[in-house]
């Protein structure tokens, strides 16, 4: 039995005349103990999917089960066994760390002691501040406390909606370490993120765009499916370079990617020399050009292009 099974979920918002489709025929499956990532830009429909699965929102059509229970008919069962950390996770700013945790334990009919084992590793990091008000914690600590609150009743499925948005790089890394540890405990985790680099930390990912799932696979497989050659290019004038490359007759796609521009060619025959020639002709200097290893983000951009055409 899969931990989460979603079948043909459709959700539309807005008026009947001008509906906005948030989820368009989404299907996916998450098996027990899996760390599953939902990757997509803002507005792709990630939060709607989470709200449907956490029984907060009703889908227009399609079915979904969590832990084998139907999200519509057996929502009460589901509410007992899921942990949910919404994107806008919030704690009571005027309650202390410990009071917040006790509150969430109480509304889930449990106590801190009962499941202390599960959160221990995370909680010890914030325990020195347990009498501090949650509002006075740093961002990373708030996030850890939020995770503790979502875990305090030992859920079998954990929903994390953009848990790392707005958190610094070190805390993000720590956070993913914690998720890995939780996976060991047999908790299935559905996590969404707009950060492509985090996709590679998941067991499997679903790439979602405008309410449609473009691909579901292991991150390595998704990258393997990217068969085209990709170049990294940089020069002294990055803005002009991007513009020039986009107008290059052999360019299929070119976009900014960190310190470099990523370039995919229509026709590989000419290769490196032809590009260099073209750029030198346009008086670019300090040109750096080498083959690049595609990552999830490149795959995402590739899939987006396919989707549109």
């Amino acid at each position: 039995m899969p931990s989460i099974a979603v079948e043909n979920i459709i959700k539309k918002y807005g008026s009947k005349k001008e509906p906005v489709t948030a989820l368009d025929d989404v299907s996916l499956e998450v098996s027990k103990g899996e760390l599953f990532g939902v990757i997509g830009p803002d507005g792709a429909g990630k939060t709607s999917l989470f709200r449907i699965l956490t029984t907060l929102l009703l889908a227009d059509s399609g079915t979904a089960t969590v832990d084998g229970f139907d999200v519509v008919k057996q929502y009460k069962e589901i509410r007992n066994r899921i942990g949910y950390m919404p994107g806008k996770f919030s704690l009571y700013q005027d309650l202390t760390v410990e009071e917040n945790l006790r509150f969430f334990a109480t509304i889930f009919n449990t106590s801190i002691q009962e499941n202390y084992e599960l959160i221990k590793e995370i909680y010890v990091q914030i325990e020195p501040f347990k009498d501090r008000r949650a509002g006075k914690l740093s961002g990373g600590m708030k996030q850890k406390l939020a995770l503790c609150c979502a875990l305090i009743h030992r859920p079998s499925v954990l929903f994390l909606d953009e848990p790392t948005t707005g958190v610094d790089a070190v805390s993000r890394k720590e956070f993913w370490e914690m998720l890995k540890a939780l996976k060991q405990q047999g908790i299935s985790i559905l996590v969404s993120t707009p950060y492509m680099d985090e996709a590679e930390l998941c067991d499997r990912v679903a790439l979602i765009q405008s309410g449609k799932i473009m691909s579901i696979d292991m991150p390595q497989h998704i990258i393997q499916k990217f068969t085209k050659t990709m170049w990294s290019v940089r020069s002294a004038e990055m803005v002009r370079l991007l513009n020039d490359l986009q107008h290059y007759s052999n360019t299929e796609k070119c976009y900014a990617f960190g310190e470099f521009h990523h370039l995919v060619l229509k026709n590989e025959s000419g290769g490196k020399d032809e590009i260099l020639q073209y750029l030198q002709h346009l008086a670019h200097h300090e040109i750096e050009l080498h083959l690049a290893q595609p990552n999830i983000e490149d795959c995402f951009i590739e899939l987006m292009g396919n989707n549109k055409s």
Partner: protein, 372 residues
Amino acid sequence: MKQLSFLLEKEFRQVFRNPAILRSVLVMPIIQLIIFPFAANYEVKNVYLSMVDNDHSSYSQKFISKITSSGYFILTDYSPSYNKAMESIESDKADLIIEIPYGFEKELVKENKAAMLIAVNAVNGAKANLGGAYAANIIRDFNKEIQMQWMTFPAFNAIPTIEITSSNWYNPTMNYKEFMVPGILVTLLTMIGTFLASLNIVHEKEIGTIEQINVSPISKSTFILGKLIPFWIMGLVTLTIGLLVSRLFYGIVPVGNIALIYLFAMVFLLALLGVGLLISTYAETQTQATFVGFFVMMVFMLLGGLYTSIDSMPDWAKWITKVNPVAYFIEVMRMIVLKGSGFADIKYHLLSVLGLAVVFNSWAIMNYHKRS
């Protein structure tokens, strides 16, 4: 039960850590009760008077000294003509014109009757009404004095007159404060009921904690009770402070049973909290909740009989007061505090408010969804 008690504990912790709410529950009633009854006063004093005396006789002089010594009127000017006096009304210097026509004394002596004109600035309705009435009263009095002077001899009046003497029951000195203070107390409870609970819930919506509560197995009723009970208790605390203030500052001791006031307040708060809860289920932000809350509160207050008598309202407005818990409570407060009414007298009010409490709360509970 354990859940509920923890929810209550949490709410109270938050209240005690929020000085603004504490202040509004504890200090606001004291300040309002001390200040407003003195300021908001029905008695109209300081009516500015413009006299037009075209007669300049001893009788007209006598009349002017009588009206200015009454204490209600301040003579702003003597105008040579009605039109001049009108100017001072237009420039807002005077509220009332009394014109004594030429030949006033002569007519009075000769014909045994004379005319006089009162013109009132009705922009401020209450002042105009009462000012006009006071002036008419003084004129009647003046008239009587003259009659007394002239007709001392007849054994009985040639013209039969009915003299009206009124005595004010339950508030013999017509002490305005005794009438107003219980009403203001109701206002305070209304504010706590409509605002505190609804803002509290909407605040949880705004910060997003309600989302986590919604995915939890906690039941709707436990959650709602956890929100209602703290503010219900705070309302009763405010009532207690209010009753103490009215006793210490105004010496108002309820003639009736205090327990009856509390019983009614308990039911009343339940109804008002239901209104607050209802607002919170519709409002998404505290701004929305505050605006709707104010609107409801204004309707409750203006159609509640605190400032204007319900009996003189048009029929449609009277119907609105039937679903206005504030109207019932203000009446009951005055009945118990001033008149000493017992349970039997307020039974109908109590049942009505109880009915409203049930309606508002069930409507709110039906409209509160843990999922959308």
